[in-house]
């Protein structure tokens, strides 16, 4: 396994939530990039090449579902970046929509830091 640091891009319009990700993931050794909405994320994904995207659903300009749909229709390797949805919505229709769009997993907010780290690590292929 490589020693390089894993890069996670968090896409969320709430500053507090981004702070939580920065703190939790940063302390655990991830490099954390941030985007405020789907549109910004799409632009950044190409240049930053993250190993994992953690994406909120409800965001201005471009919501998470549209973002993932668009992402999955890009050229590889960009199209195949693992996506973890983190949303307060917890209905079966929300899970289904995320899966249809192409999300790899869904965590319901509020997210326990340990759980976040466990999933981020597994999805990036590093030991937690």
């Amino acid at each position: 396994m490589s020693d390089r640091k894993m890069r996670v891009m968090v896409v969320d319009d709430a500053a507090l939530v981004r702070l939580f990700y920065r703190e939790t993931l940063g302390k655990a050794g991830f490099i954390v990039d941030e985007a405020l909405n789907g549109l910004e994320a799409l632009e950044k994904v190409l240049s930053e090449a993250p190993d994992l995207l953690i994406v909120d659903v409800n965001m201005p300009q471009m919501d998470g579902i549209t973002f993932i749909k668009t992402l999955r229709r890009q050229e590889p390797p960009m199209a195949g970046i693992p996506v973890l949805i983190a949303s307060t919505e917890a209905g079966p229709q929300d899970f289904a929509a995320a899966r249809e769009a192409g999300a790899n997993f869904y965590l319901v907010k509020p997210i326990d830091p340990d759980r976040l780290l466990a999933f981020a690590a597994m999805m990036c292929g590093v030991a937690a």
Binding site: P76, N104, A127
Partner: protein, 733 residues
């Protein structure tokens, strides 16, 4: 002997039989995880039972064997003839003790010496000391959720809440009965009871101190559990279980498993333009899960499968690779069968009679010939030949016949004769009856009756349960039968037959029948029904109460083992298969339990009728005759209508009214009636027109329409429109 002990003796015999059968099967095929699990559960139940009635020596001996099996489950030790022999020796000892208990109400005096000898068998060799469970006796407060979920995979699937209750040591003095409290929890699925501190020597034991931890799973919500435990909340841990957490653990963590399963779901959702993105990302995630565990050996084949999927434009290679890992994981000894693998694999593997395949191959040959014959007509037409209609019509007839045969042939691949499940019973029956000093002759009838494969395969468990119940409770012992003037050898009849749309399986014994008074009493005692409600019930309704949850008389003991074994389980399974359960009991003469199951896909001969301008199908096998009667023939009887047919009054149901149809009617002066026989009762359905008859594949209604009263399913008509099939049972009720 008190009732508790009596129940204990019955239970023990049952568990010993089960364990013996499992062990013998295991000896033949050591990789049979189901049998291993089942044997383990049986020993576990035996131990639990012995603990409850305070037969410590017995609990100790059984514990030794249980440990042996639990190491085998974990894969620490192999399933050897020695291990099986030791376990069987333990069972022999248990049966000796049980006989003694049945005679004298207590264990023999030298029981602890005998127990020690049994325990010693399990502590030799293999470097594993019996009794030295690797889990510390004082259970750690972390991981208990995972362990109970793993211990009870069935309950885990339905559980919404896990709880752990450690009553205070002096709780008995504050009139707290911890076990009863947990037993009354809403939605209780399973209880595990273990000591807080290792049990001391009997002479040091203070029976007034509570030394128990109770761990339970419930299908009720966290709030409900909170309410039920309100006054002891400080001694409880209650954990709400998320959907993804309910899975038993294995060497893959629960989280890893849910991630893998989520990727399978993602693969199923691919459409054309997001295919590459979804497949690539799923492949990355799965490979990463293994990399994260330091298992790059598993990551490589996943990466290969991903590349193959992307190259072929098919999700199958990656999906198979993921499934292979998940299933292999589940098939390892020690790993509980997770997330319904039995069902999944059963759905995939289909054992087919070679003759059926051969006949399909023959059919394809004939189809090719027929196709060429049509090609010939096309060539003629291209040459300007005229008057080809007759020729085309002939060719069409041939093709029509062949396609019909093909359809039937393919459908037949999905059906199995009931023999598949029936044939397991003769042996089981001998085993079950032998330990009870009962002699039972099994008669099977209609084993060649076919039913949908899924149904045949799911039948075993409920059947076994009813059969065991019949032998245990229904059939008297030899002496009892002789005293009643019955033949000493009882008869148990397994019968399968088709009844219209359904497959019926009947289990009939010639035992003592069901004591309705006893059922009433138990129903009241256990709060299944109130005395008022019971007073209003007919005898057959009271009898049917044995299928209610919470009724089972065996429950007090067996639930502790995590096996809910009430008859309600039988009904749950049958209802899940879309069927119904009926019971008929004649006091002193026997009991018959009847499963009525759908024959989910099959060709049915349909008669088309119409009412108010709408067409409906009626399954022809329910139709006795069709009549045209003058308007005077139908008489009003109160609010209903009836005709007299061969001296029998037959109710007339107007389809237009029954289905509340408002379209324009095509009714003549004379009434057109379809007389149908449902469950032995004749009814006449008044329709406007009777139309064609044909064979069709019925599909059950799904989605919003499922459960629409009066409709049984649908089928496609030649013009592509949908024909709704009437449910006569419902309409004629």
């Amino acid at each position: 002997m008190n009732e508790f002990l009596e129940q204990f003796v019955i239970e023990c015999r049952e568990q010993v039989e089960q364990a013996t059968a499992d062990l013998l099967a295991l000896e033949k095929s050591p990789s049979n995880i189901e049998r291993l699990d089942s044997a383990f559960r049986a020993f576990h139940s035996l131990k639990g039972g012995a603990g409850i009635v305070d037969f410590d020596a017995m609990a100790e001996a059984v514990h030794g064997a249980e440990d042996g099996l639990s190491y085998a489950r974990k894969g620490t030790i192999a399933i050897s003839t020695t291990l099986i022999g030791d376990c069987l020796a333990c069972l022999d000892q248990v049966i000796q003790w049980v006989d003694e208990i049945a005679r004298r109400g207590d264990l023999p005096r030298d029981a602890s010496k005998q127990a020690a000898a049994i325990v010693a068998r399990f502590s030799r060799g293999d470097g594993v000391a019996a009794g030295a469970d690797p889990r510390p006796q004082v259970e750690q407060s972390v991981g208990w959720v995972t362990s109970i979920l793993a211990e009870h995979p069935d309950a885990a699937r339905e559980a919404r809440c896990a709880l752990r209750y450690t009553p205070s040591a002096d709780c008995f003095f504050s009139q707290e009965d911890p076990l009863a409290r947990i037993a009354r929890l809403p939605g209780l699925l399973t209880i595990d009871v273990s000591p807080v501190h290792p049990w001391p020597q009997l002479c040091d034991l203070d029976p007034f101190q509570c030394n128990l931890v109770l761990v339970a799973l419930s299908s009720a919500s966290e709030t409900e559990i909170h309410k039920a435990l309100a006054d002891v909340l400080d001694r409880c841990h209650i954990e709400a279980l998320e959907e993804t957490v309910r899975r038993p653990s294995s060497s893959l963590s629960l989280d890893a498993r849910s991630l893998l399963e989520a990727q399978l779901g993602l693969l199923e959702s691919t459409v054309n333009d997001d295919f590459a993105g979804k497949v690539a990302s799923a492949g990355v995630v799965v490979a990463n899960v293994f990399l994260a565990q330091g298992d790059s050996g598993l990551a490589v084949p996943i990466e290969e499968a991903t590349a193959q999927s992307l190259a072929e434009g098919q999700t199958a290679p990656l999906a198979h690779a993921i499934k292979a890992i998940l299933f292999e994981e589940a098939a390892k000894p020690g790993a509980p069968l997770a997330f319904g693998t039995e069902h999944d694999t059963a759905a995939r593997a289909l054992r087919i009679d070679a003759r059926r395949v051969d006949s399909l191959v023959d059919l394809t040959t004939e189809l090719t010939v027929a196709k060429n014959a049509i090609g010939h007509v096309v060539a003629l037409a291209q040459n300007g030949e005229e008057g080809l209609e007759q020729l085309l019509k002939q060719r069409f007839a041939v093709l029509d016949r062949l396609i019909g045969e093909l359809q039937q042939g393919v459908l037949a691949l999905r059906v199995l004769p009931l023999r598949h499940v029936f044939q397991r019973f003769p042996r089981l029956l001998r085993d079950i009856a032998a330990g009870l000093d009962k002699s039972v002759n099994l008669v099977t009838e209609g084993a060649e009756t076919e039913a949908d494969k899924a149904i045949v395969e799911m039948l075993f468990e409920p059947l076994l349960h009813v059969v065991r119940n019949a032998i245990d409770h229904g059939i008297e012992d030899k002496a009892g039968r002789l005293a009643l003037g019955k033949p000493a050898v009882a008869t148990l009849k397994l019968r399968g037959y088709r009844e219209g749309e359904n497959v019926v399986i009947e289990i009939a014994d010639d035992g003592q029948g069901i004591n309705v008074e006893r059922v009433r009493q138990v129903a009241i005692d256990r709060g299944v029904a109130t005395a008022e409600a019971l007073a209003a019930m007919s005898e057959s309704q009271v009898t049917a109460l044995i299928f209610e949850p919470g009724f089972s008389t065996a429950q007090s003991v067996t639930d502790l083992s995590g096996r809910g074994v009430g008859m309600d389980v039988v009904r749950t399974i049958i209802v899940r298969m879309g069927g119904t359960v009926g019971i008929e009991s004649r006091p002193g003469a026997g009991t018959a339990v009847r499963f009525t199951l759908p024959f989910s896909v099959m060709l049915t001969r349909i008669m088309v009728v119409s009412a108010a301008g709408q067409k409906f199908g009626i399954p022809l096998d329910a139709v006795v005759e069709t009549l045209r009667v003058g308007p005077d023939a139908i008489a009003r009887v109160g609010a209903a209508q009836a005709i007299v047919l061969r001296n029998q009054t037959v109710p007339v149901i107007d389809l237009r009214e029954a289905l509340n149809l408002h379209g324009e009617s095509d009714r003549r002066r004379d009434a057109i009636l379809v007389v149908a026989n449902v469950d032995g009762v004749s009814s006449a359905l008044q329709v406007d027109v009777i139309g064609e008859r044909f064979d069709a594949m019925l599909k059950p209604l799904e989605g919003l329409l499922s459960g629409t009263p009066g409709l049984a399913g649908s089928t496609l008509l030649g013009d592509g429109s949908i024909l709704l099939i009437l449910d006569l049972t419902e309409l004629c009720r």
